[in-house]
Symmetry: C2
Subunit: 390 residues, 2 copies
């Protein structure tokens, strides 16, 4: 049965709440504002949603002040769309303008704060980047002497980690569509089909089922297993004995699913079956451990304990899952270094992986929301034994 699509967008109250929550944390840390510049961060506080960010040409800025609504400082080409948001103060320039791409407008906004030697937040920590030219950044900082720039990564990532009911509805929907698309794979795949065609058929199926886009689709297939998990598809035809894996990030209304599935083509080797079984049970252990109060490190350890049955190498992936939302991967990380305490309404991936045989690897992935009582699956749980496509 086709799941019913939620409403697109968010009511204004959603953005008011996000902004108020940020402002409460800003008050605690003595910040008079936070300057944002990446797509998900700008979208989180404004609702501004466009694929135009694909173009690296123009910088975009959103300033969340200590009180009141965010202020947008954006290229003129985005003005019409931003005017449909809940913001009132939208300042634009004719971009691109290499000699002044928003810098004067930022100066105008921020120099009163520099004069009083205030402190504003920027995102400069783990999993962030500076989405503006470094030259312009240096120029901006020089022009705003007196202003203190503090790292507000923890504030914004901390808020974004815990999803609202409306966000969970969208995530649940895209995970349902992804599950449905994966359930069709046995009909789409045949021995002799070049992997590239398998990928193309999967994309079309996902679109037809209602996904807006498939920004992420990687995987592999080879005799008895695959060798890496981030490659684009080859032209190699699928053969009996292959293990096929596809890992997808489909989107709906700007929210991602991120999970994978494995299949054997015509027949499965015992080692592949065994690897699959260990990962399936590692995921079970993750599901059991994903409850409020446990940490991401606990979650990592729970999955790792099962994986070590056949692989104690530590693996190449660096973690066993992560946060999920407006980005394919978000904070936190299920890894020994991450002591983030799991909270209700965090949406996470569980992604155990292992190496086996002669340079082969396998990865499983499910998407969950953390509820009071524990993990709730957003994806249809993978089959408990390696499915064979015949």
């Amino acid at each position: 049965m086709q799941p019913e699509a939620p409403k697109r967008g968010f009511p204004v109250a959603e953005f008011e709440t996000r902004t108020r929550n940020a402002q409460a944390l800003m008050a605690e840390t003595d910040l008079v504002g936070i300057l944002l510049m990446t797509e998900p961060d700008v979208r989180y506080f404004s609702g501004f949603h466009t694929l135009f960010w694909q173009s690296p040409t123009r910088p975009w800025f959103l300033f969340v002040p200590a009180d009141g609504k965010p202020v947008a400082i954006i290229p003129e080409i985005g003005a019409a769309l931003m005017r449909q948001s809940w913001l009132d103060d939208i300042r634009t320039w004719s971009a691109p303008a290499p000699h002044d791409d928003g810098i004067s407008l930022l100066n105008e906004l921020l120099s009163p704060l520099a004069k009083i030697k205030a402190r504003i937040g920027i995102l400069k920590g783990h999993e962030t980047s500076l989405r503006m030219p470094l030259n312009d950044w240096e120029r901006l900082v020089t022009g705003l002497r007196g202003l203190e720039f503090a790292d507000a990564t923890a504030i914004v990532q901390g808020l974004r980690m815990v999803k609202s009911p409306a966000e969970i509805e969208k995530l649940s929907y895209i995970c349902a569509l992804g599950s449905k698309a994966f359930s069709r794979v046995p009909e789409l795949v045949a021995e002799g089909q070049p992997l590239e065609e398998t990928f193309r058929a999967f994309r079309c199926t996902a679109l037809t089922l209602g996904c807006d886009d498939i920004p992420y689709l990687v995987g592999g297939a080879d005799d008895g297993g695959y060798h890496d998990v981030i490659s684009p598809p080859s032209r190699r035809p699928l053969q009996a004995g292959d293990v096929l894996m596809m890992d997808t990030g489909c989107t709906w209304d700007g929210y991602f699913c991120d999970f994978d599935r494995n299949w054997a083509i015509s027949r499965a080797t015992d080692t592949a079956r065994r690897a699959y079984d260990v990962l399936w049970r590692a995921t079970e252990a993750g599901l059991a451990a994903a409850r409020p109060g446990n940490t991401c490190c606990d979650l990592f350890n729970a999955m790792r304990a099962v994986i070590t049955e056949i692989d104690d190498s530590g693996g190449d992936v660096g973690r066993l899952g992560h946060g999920l939302g407006m980005q394919l991967t978000e904070q936190p990380s299920h890894a020994p270094f991450d002591r983030t305490v799991l909270k209700e309404n965090m949406v996470l991936t569980l992604e155990p992986s292992l190496s086996y045989g002669d340079g082969l690897m396998m990865v499983h992935e499910e998407n969950i929301v953390v509820r009071k009582g524990g993990a709730e699956l957003l994806t249809n749980r993978a089959a408990s034994e390696l499915p064979v496509i015949t």
Copy 2:
């Protein structure tokens, strides 16, 4: 007729040439290397091609030295794929590692250069960003006292602007697929169809024709014209009298087309026809001006002269076209500020736009390669009159 797909990837000679060309320019500017960190720049010199960059978690680095092959400093998860490239020196760490995400490895590579107070290039100019946490960048710079960081934006963007025959083959192919997809639109569209479904049908058609992906698809449709050019599709059903526009960046083997098409639904207003005609002729003027020796500013002026017949406002888009390649938009810009001299084998978009009527706008776009004798179209030229879908 279906165009024939070129070979995927590039021969090693392609990367050798790119690297040698960069090294020649580095010698002229006294640089001992260039440090790169964004997807297209890393791919340009290594061939490393994966959608995994969708995840913002891990930084990736490529150092192009004054002599020899580039050195990759990358997360372990990318090692298997990078080993398939032409590089020999691939250094990895288990990422994510928030306390040391590649910084020690970069230090090890670069501190001998810091000791001799050498000068390396980074990309910090127009259309660049710092794809690593600013905290890590500041730590890296502090740890490498003595090393001078110079802006190498012009070197790398300058090389990337002029395409090789193999790159032009890929660009030509994806433009042909895009043209074919647009030619099918009249069969996909009907009065009453929600725009969202039109977009979905277009994506599926493009995939079926052979595109790898459709990372960019924006547009609009409304009575007599559309109001902005970067929005995701609405659920509004198409109605008689609408002007529909779709603008797409489809990819094949990591190369983009970027062009749009306009259609009237059932009937067209005179003002829409007139706007279309002006833009069609503005594109003709662009095609005539796109020859080696002219500048981007000349190209802008040639198109602008026609546009002013009905709109002298200057528009919201900020330019009338740009470079095209591994990114949807690349340097240069057809704008008054850009004095880049057109060279043979530059691949460009011509993208005149104008405002008309009551807050309506229209945009046209074609993709070309600059040849000795002038512009060669890579897209099938749009119809000279606004096509009406009946």
